[in-house]
Symmetry: C2
Subunit: 131 residues, 2 copies
């Protein structure tokens, strides 16, 4: 099985090595192998799992929940239903969060329009003064 070092994994994922070590300590990477010298070896499978972890992070899932999810993945297919339930719930949480953001963004857009308009008027006024 082809494996890569922590430095290569970090570069591939564009995150610091320290974060990968931290994630392992937090139980998010429970099946990382080591070489004879104790160095971590990231397999293709690990990298895929890490991409999933990053997706969950990008959608603001707490580390505690990600740890539970990973534990279920490792436990095997008997946990499919639990994982499905968790992901479905999480999806809804994310959709809610995005709805909140969109709503806030509408208010921000109103401000942008107001400021834009205000500046436009000031510019117009400047023109008039030059008539």
């Amino acid at each position: 099985m082809k494996t890569i070092s922590i430095g290569e994994a970090a570069a591939a994922l564009r995150i610091p090595e320290s974060t990968l070590r931290y994630y392992e300590k937090q139980g998010l990477l429970p099946l990382i192998e080591r070489d004879g010298a104790g160095r971590r070896l990231f397999s293709e499978h690990q990298m895929e799992l890490l991409e999933t972890i990053l997706r969950l992070k990008h959608t603001h899932m707490p580390i505690q929940d990600i740890r539970q999810y990973i534990a279920w993945v490792i436990e095997g297919e008997s946990t499919t239903e639990l994982r499905l339930e968790m992901m479905t719930r999480h999806k809804q949480t994310v959709l809610n969060e995005m709805a909140v953001m969109e709503e806030a963004l509408r208010g921000i857009d109103i401000k942008i329009n107001r400021y834009t308009e205000r500046l436009r008027k000031k510019t117009e006024q400047g023109k008039e003064e030059n008539l």
Copy 2:
């Protein structure tokens, strides 16, 4: 001018009073009045400003930046251009963040579909066994 207490303001905004005190200490509410006994009085104007602050928080703007924004609001119309620039930048940041979330959500959806399919197959298998 009609004003409300911190308790009423907190209830209206559905956030703890402690958060409002914290925001004031952080310089987000620089023009809160007090009554004779030193109690905060929230005016309608304050509440509107607070709603703006909450919109910025909902879109993950750091307190430091919100403080700057509020300072510009108080400074007056001479800062319109700065505010416009800040809000425009912020909007783009939020859109980027939402795009990251959406992309991650697509990966999560794939998992949901896989798990759903896996469970469906198990159910089918169960049916066959009952033939």
